[in-house]
Symmetry: C2
DNA sequence: GACATATTTAGACAATTGTATAAATATCTT
DNA sequence: AAGATATTTATACAATTGTCTAAATATGTC
């Protein structure tokens, strides 16, 4: 289990970004305008999420669209279930 | 979902501690001797885990025994399942 | 009480991180 | 190609974090 994954999840802004992407895919700008901080700061958070493979991107003209990489989340769940789950259906 | 929980999980030493506690409950000293760092440093990690409610302690004479708080792990799993799970049985 | 063992707490310091501003890159429109 | 929009990259800096050593606290033994 990659260290970058847990470090990426450690920041509340990044977790909020992930939750936004749960609803629907969004461009960097659409994501950034949800936060009070500078666009560049959000962009940095996006790069951290991407480095952790939690999100994927696709260019659409001028825009860059972000989407969740649900595969990695399933790995996270599996990590916790196998190591710490204990119960069969927690 | 508490911020301290994810921050606590972000450090590899702390995740290793949690995995050690999966096998069996251990005293602070038994945990600390598994790591190359100073005892005080491990003790600090233990305090972070405790603040996040990931572990619980019980004094046994001179010793302090640590154990996993599995309830919190189930909450973590539930967090990921509900928000990002997508599939019914990931 | 004095000493040994187990553990935590305090203080210091280097490394990492989150944020900001400014500059750079990419695409689109004219 | 020039200008507008979208986004990232570079640089700087304050805040947080991980580790260390030293000191403090708690328990057990003599």
């Amino acid at each position: 289990m990659d260290d970058s994954l847990f470090r990426a999840l450690a920041d509340p802004t990044r977790r909020k970004i992930l939750e936004l992407l749960t609803e629907k895919d969004r461009t960097a700008g659409e994501i950034a305008e949800q936060f009070p901080m500078a666009f560049a700061s959000v962009s940095h958070h996006l790069s951290v999420l991407k480095a952790a493979d939690l999100v994927a991107t696709e260019r659409e003209g001028q825009f860059i669209r972000y989407r969740l990489n649900t595969t990695v989340f399933q790995e996270v769940v599996r990590y916790f279930m196998t190591r710490f789950g204990g119960e069969k259906d927690a």
